[in-house]
Amino acid sequence: MEVREKIRHFITANFIISNEEADVSFEDHENIFSLGFVNSMFAMKLLNYIESEFGFRVDNDDININNFKSVDNMVLLVNKMRGALT
C-alpha cells in the first residue's frame, strides 16, 4: 500500500467521530482535528502509528498539529523524514 492509503486506512479505523450522523468520509486535505477535537490519546496513537509503520522517530520540532492535521500533511512529513534518512 502507498503511504497515503495506509494513513487514510489508519485514520478511518481509529478516528473518533464528532457527530454520530456526520459523514465519516474526509478529503486528504481536510483538517481531521476540526472534524473532532484534539484528543491526547488519538494524537499519540497517530504519532506511534506513523513512527512504527514508516520506521523513524519524529523530531520534537515536527510534532505539531500542522504536520498531523490532514492526510496530505502527514504524507509530506513521511516523505520528508524518509528523504532525511537516505
Binding site: F15, I16, I17, S18, N19, E20, V24, F33, G36, F37, V38, N39, S40, M41, F42, A43, M44, L47, N60, I63, N64, I65, F68
Partner: protein, 355 residues
Amino acid sequence: MNEKEQRHSKDVKCLIWDLDDTLWHGTLSENPQVILKPGITEVLESLDHRGILLSIASKNNFDDCWRKLEELRVAHYFLYPQISWNAKSAAVDIIGKKMNIGLDTIAFIDDQPFEREEVGSTHSEIQCIDAGDYLNLLNYPRFNPRFVTEDSARRREMYQQDIRRNEHEQQFSGPKEAFLATLNMVFQISDAGEFDLQRAEELTVRTNQLNATGVTYSFEELHFFSNSDKHDLLVCELTDKYGSYGKIGLALVEKRVDAWQLRMMLMSCRVMSRGVGTVLLAYIMNEARRNGVKLRADFRMTDRNRMMYVTYKFCNFYEISNDGTGNIVFENELLQIPEYPDYIDLRINRNAIWK
C-alpha cells in the same frame, strides 16, 4: 542506595500471588481441601485497604482455583488473575499491561525459588518475595504508602468498575464517540480542598505517563499552594454511570500579571481512553485568555511522558526555552483553544471567580 535498592524503590501498586503453598497450604490439584495460611485474609484486607492491587500468577486449572478462592471468600480481592500453565514471567507482564502500571511497581510472591528466579531474571524491575515472609509484608516500606486516601481504599473497586465498562465497550458497535456518550460522563473541576491534598500528593507520586513536569510536591507544599492567592491548585474528578473514577487530574497554576504558568499538570492514566485528557488544559487556557494573559507551561521530558509533550504541542503550545537536558518551557498565545468534547458534562466548582 545500591543498584538493587534503587530498582526496587517505588511504592508497590500491585502484588501478584502464587497460590499453592503461598496463599494456601498444600497443592490444590492433589488436595481439594487446602486451607488458607493463617493470617492471610488480614494481610489481603490490609493491602487492599492501602490501595495496593492484588492479582494471581499460578500454574493451575483456572476453574478449580477460582471456585476454591470463592469458597475461601477471598476471590473478590484479585484482579486479572492469570491461572494457566504459562510461564509466570508472561503472566506478570499481562497483569501489568491490563492494569496499565509499570513493572517497577509490581511485586511477586511465591514459595518456589524457581518461579521467583524465572520472573526476576526476565523482569529485574519486579521485586520477588519468598512466600515464607508473607506475615511481614505489611511492614515493607514499599507496601506503606504515605497516605491512605478515599481513592486508594476504593482503588480495587474502581478497577472492577473499569472491567465492567470495558465489557460494555466491547459489546458496543458504532463510533467511539457514540460509545463515550453512552457513559454519561461528568467532569468536575474544583479548587483543591483540604481533603484533596493527600490524594493530590498521591497522584503526583503515582502518575508517570501523563505527568508534564515529573515534579512530586509534598503534602506541605501543596497545602501552601492551595492557600496562596498567587496560585491555583485545581483537581478534577470524573464520574460516569458506573461510578466515580475518583480524583484523576491535578494542575498548579502560578498567576503573574503578564502570564500564567502551569507548574504542574497531570492526569491519571486510568482515564486515557476516555478522551478527557485535554479538558483540564483547555479550561485553564480559556481562563487565562479571559484574564488577558498568555499561558506558559513547565515541562520535563522523561522516557515515559511523551504523550503529554504531544498533547501540549497539539494544543498549539510552542517551546520558548529548552536547556537540552529535557527541561522545556512552553508558551501559548491562546489564539486557538480545543473545544470541550460533546460527550462530557463539564462542571466548574470554584471557590472564587478568577479576576
